[in-house]
């Protein structure tokens, strides 16, 4: 592997790790939000 091959590998790994974390974080945030909304709605129904 030449110099630029190593550089591409390093930048590739870093980009995938950061972008992957960002995407996963967005998904977890959405799921947690949905769960909270469902819980809140359930509570309202019971109160009525």
């Amino acid at each position: 592997m030449g110099s630029w091959g190593f550089i591409a590998l390093a930048y590739g790994v870093a980009t995938i790790a950061l972008a992957g974390y960002l995407i996963l974080l967005g998904r977890r945030l959405r799921e947690a939000g949905e769960e909270l909304t469902a819980l809140e709605r359930e509570g309202e129904r019971k109160r009525r």
Partner: protein
């Protein structure tokens, strides 16, 4: 503590922009190194990653101390969020370090003090995240986590001094060293821009991750409330 969403978006956009400029500087504008040639450009990823990881674990350490003192889960939310991003950044440091090592030293890995202590740092905070996942009660997770996070932080000053104290294959510090930085000014500038970009990205991710933790806390609290009632 909740920030308006436009602030988060602006922070994310700024981080992206600075990182993009940093990438251009690092891959195009900065000169190759006289000894190492082009492959030295990996430094612009490797060094900002570990510096930002140190910052992340410092935030975790301070938030953990505050938690143990005040016993408020809001501090713990900051601690665990920052630690998770720190683990990602340390992982990137290890990966880019292996690649840079193979290209210059000729080996992917060697057990010198610097590399070993960085691997230990990664293990400590992966362990921290696992410990928290196993603990059933949020307060217990926070308490055990805080102790481990504070103990684990000691690895950082040791790792910084490792290249001064011991013989290593890893070279000593280029910037924080007696006699000032031993780096071409253009390279140093490029490094600073890349570091700024990564710190901005860290801040963006941290705010997002804290929001996740607080949403979860709210859900747990609701469920507990309901359990008591019915």
């Amino acid at each position: 503590m909740d920030h308006p969403s436009w602030l988060g978006r602006a922070l994310g956009a700024l981080a992206g922009l600075v990182l993009f400029v940093g990438m251009y500087l690092g891959l195009v504008l900065a000169p190759p190194d006289a000894v190492q040639g082009q492959v030295q450009r990996i430094m612009y990823l490797h060094v900002p990653s570990i510096v930002t990881a140190y910052l992340a674990f410092t935030v975790t350490c301070v938030a953990s101390v505050l938690y143990l003192w005040k016993r408020e889960l809001a501090y713990d939310a900051v601690a665990v969020s920052s630690a998770e991003i720190g683990v990602v950044l340390t992982g990137i440091t290890l990966a880019t370090g292996c690649i840079w090592g193979k290209a210059t030293w000729g080996v992917w890995w060697t057990w010198d003090a610097r590399l070993t202590l960085t691997a230990i740092l990664f293990t400590i905070y992966v362990g921290y995240l696992m410990l928290r996942a196993f603990a059933e009660e949020p307060q217990a997770a926070a308490r055990y986590g805080a102790v481990l996070a504070i103990l684990g932080f000691l690895d950082i000053p040791m790792n910084h001094m490792a290249v001064q104290w011991w013989r290593t294959l890893h070279q000593p510090s280029s910037i924080l060293r007696p006699g000032g930085p031993s780096m071409d000014p253009v390279m140093l500038g490029t490094l600073v821009v890349n570091l700024a970009g990564l710190v901005l990205l860290y801040t963006y991710l941290l705010l997002k991750r804290i929001r996740l933790e607080r949403t979860r806390h709210r859900a747990v609290a609701l469920r507990l409330q309901r359990g008591r009632r019915g």
